[in-house]
């Protein structure tokens, strides 16, 4: 009789074959990164210099000017003194506990990551809302980006670009961009059909419909997406620190390896404080600018 062992143990590929496949793929990718690594790095060069410039700016500026600028921004966005005072107090506390420089570094990379995620994410979301086919292609990619452990896609990024700010930035953007894409798509698809039909009936062209109707009406949903993106970017700073992104993540990493509980906790709390400031300010801004959409509804 034939060999029936496949019934008891899973029929699997020969060890040698698997190794060959791995070797081939790894080799091909390594070759690719050797060939194109530099040009890809060059492509990201402007982004890197911007990132470095922004970080230096935050670090070089005297702390009280940064505080004043933050206070002004918070107030401009939220029009709330309470929020303003709360932000100042938490930043003062962070500085007093010796985490000012790391916080500035984290602030700079989060800001750049969020801007990049918005600039890339909103157009992708719009494209998804426009065509069901695009949506069916992009959705599984977003699913992968959100569920794939971050360490896994750090590997090719590091292989390609080495250790440093840009790979960190790419990793953070990959991790943080899905919410803004998803919610832009959703927001546009949820726009009241009759309002859009009205715009069409008055002869609006696609651009006028997008800018005059779809985006403004989707804005509350898009803002929720941006908010989520910021939160996710912040939660990535620890992982990003593993590939050399300086900031609040590095002391946390150091605490894990050396079992420094207090250091870890303080830096962790600093990340939380940043997250809360970002979250409350962006929500207050969204709420203030969308006030006419809710609250005073008649029926």
């Amino acid at each position: 009789m034939a060999d029936n062992s496949w019934l008891t143990s899973f029929p699997k590929m020969e060890r040698g074959e698997l190794a060959a496949i791995r070797k081939t793929l790894d080799g091909a990718y390594r070759q690719f990164s050797r060939d194109y690594g530099e040009s890809i790095e060059a492509f990201f060069e402007p982004l890197l210099s911007f990132l470095v410039w922004f970080e230096r700016l935050l670090l070089a500026t005297p702390w009280w000017i940064v505080l004043a600028a933050v206070a002004a921004l918070v107030y401009a966005a939220s029009r709330s003194w309470k929020l303003c005072v709360g932000s100042i107090v938490s930043l003062l506390l962070i500085g007093y506990l010796g985490m000012w420089d790391d916080t500035m570094r984290t602030l700079s990379i989060i800001t750049v990551c969020t801007l990049l995620a918005i600039v890339l994410g909103i157009p992708i979301g719009i494209a998804m809302a426009r065509s069901n086919r695009t949506q069916s292609i992009v959705t599984p990619m977003l699913d992968i980006m959100q569920t794939m452990p971050a360490f896994v896609y750090l590997i090719p990024v590091v292989m390609l670009l080495g250790i440093g700010k840009i790979p960190g930035l790419i990793a953070v953007v990959i991790y943080a961009i899905p919410p803004v894409i998803r919610l832009t798509n959703l927001g546009i698809r949820l726009v009241d059909r009759e309002v859009l039909e009205a715009a069409t009936a008055f002869g609006a062209n696609p651009r006028q419909r997008l800018l005059g109707v779809q985006l403004p009406l989707a804005m509350p949903t898009i803002m929720a997406g941006i908010n989520q993106t910021i939160m996710m970017a912040l939660s990535m700073v620890v992982i990003a620190s593993m590939i050399g992104v300086k900031g609040l993540g590095q002391p946390v990493l150091k605490s894990i390896t050396n079992q420094y509980f207090t250091l870890g906790l303080l830096n962790g709390l600093a990340i939380v404080a940043l997250a809360i400031i970002f979250d409350r300010v962006s929500q207050a801004y969204a709420k203030r600018t969308q006030a006419h959409l809710g609250g005073l509804q008649h029926d």
Partner: protein, 414 residues
């Protein structure tokens, strides 16, 4: 006859993945339900032929799902037909390119929506100015025009409000002002007043009639409410399951419903309010054309009634009775007929609703004279003519028409 402004020829619409394959079945006359069951396609419209004249209010009426909202969206091609032609003022709308279609929508037609379709993030003034903004008209000018229309619809002072701050009736006024602001010749109104409560609705109807008397737009009005259709419509088309059942003036529809479906609609209507004196009046038989009293008396004696309606070249004068004429002194017979001999009988106009003359016809001993604006005696109306209106239509074994007001969810059109 002048050429109609809008002509629809052989329009078919089938919703589904392969409408062209299903179209032959529709033409063979298979029913909507059968086609849906066998092919999964929904028949939206079948064989629609319409013509709409310049300056009239054309009402398209039908129950939910009868295809009326689908039909109105064909006029400005918000929905593409499966087959057929739509001519508007000599242009074949079906042949317009995307760019031409945009221009057509900007200048030729504007639309009012059931759920208003206002932009919630813009204030009332900017909503009214929306059509003009799309046309690329500069801000100061479009706001000035929008302000004028806002005043016309009676929303002065609301310019800076947001739509969510207004009541339903006010929001629809904004919708109406927005549609009028582009000065388009044709106004499409898709169940424009259906979402409003009855009192506001009738106010809006009054306003529309008033506006129409000065603007003379061509209005295509969709409704599921026959009272509204009769009140507004110069002509009415009734749709059932995507097909036209009957087209005609309100009176034609009320008095000669084409089939049971229309009759079921008509049954609920307050006919006394919807019909005018003109539709029930009888020809004026007892007329006296004399100039003097003597002549009048001799004419009277030849009539079978003992009263008659005096008509001269200037038109209707009054009611004369034999008794009244005989009381006059014989010596005065050569004189012209004077005011005193006329009986006191109210005069009605042909377009008065019957409802308003019921009391007068019952109180009066004579048939009431129907006199038009030029003073001509058009006919007579008596209590028994009025009574006919209140009698049930002959075949009364029709289902109650509750369905006509039911709010069924409309099947998704796309």
């Amino acid at each position: 006859m002048t050429k109609p402004l809008i002509e629809v020829k052989g329009l078919y619409k089938v919703f589904g993945s392969q409408p062209q394959k299903v179209l032959p079945r529709v033409k063979q006359g298979q029913s909507k339900d059968q086609i849906l069951a066998e092919t999964g396609h929904t028949v939206g419209l079948k064989e629609i032929d319409l013509h709409i004249n310049k300056g009239e209010i054309f009402v398209i009426m039908g129950l939910s799902g009868s295809g009326k909202s689908t039909l109105i969206r064909h006029f400005n091609r918000l929905i593409e037909p499966s087959e057929g032609e739509i001519w508007v003022d000599g242009t074949d709308v079906m042949k317009l390119s995307q760019g031409q279609l945009q221009e057509f929508r900007r200048h030729k037609m504007s639309m009012v929506f059931q759920r208003f379709g206002l932009l919630p993030h813009r204030n009332v003034l900017d909503n009214v100015a929306y059509g003009l903004e799309i046309q690329g008209i500069e801000k100061a000018h479009r706001q000035k025009v929008a302000g004028e229309w806002l005043e016309t619809v009676g929303l002065n002072g609301y310019a800076a409000q947001f739509p969510s701050q207004l009541s339903g009736g006010q929001q629809q006024r904004v919708g109406l002002a927005r549609a009028l602001a582009t000065d388009a010749e044709i106004l499409l109104m898709d169940e424009a007043f259906s979402a409003l409560d009855p009192l506001i609705r009738s106010e809006m109807q009054d306003q529309l009639i008033e506006l129409q008397s000065s603007l003379h737009k061509t209005i295509i009005f969709i409704t599921h409410d026959l009272d509204e259709a009769l009140r507004l419509g110069d002509r009415i088309a009734i749709l059932k399951d995507g097909a036209l059942v009957q087209q005609g003036t309100p009176d034609e529809i009320l008095l000669h419903p084409a089939d049971d479906y229309v009759e079921a609609f008509v049954k609920d209507v307050n006919r006394a309010r919807a019909l005018t004196v003109e539709t029930v009046m009888k020809p004026p038989v007892s007329r006296i054309t004399a100039e003097t009293l003597g002549e009048a008396l001799s004419q009277m004696k030849r009539l079978k009634d003992d009263y008659a309606y005096h008509v001269t070249e200037e038109g209707y004068q009054g009611v004369l009775t034999q008794e009244g004429l005989e009381q006059v002194n014989k010596s005065l017979h050569q004189q012209e007929i004077s005011e005193e001999v006329y009986e006191d009988v109210p005069v009605v106009s042909p377009d008065t609703p019957i409802e308003q003359i019921v009391g007068d016809t019952i109180e009066s001993d004579y048939s009431l004279p129907v006199v038009d604006d030029d003073g001509n005696l058009k006919g007579l109306v008596a209590a028994e003519n009025v009574a006919e209106v209140f009698a049930e239509p002959e075949s009364s074994d029709i289902e109650p028409t509750e369905a006509a007001n039911e709010e069924e969810p409309e099947p998704k059109a796309s």
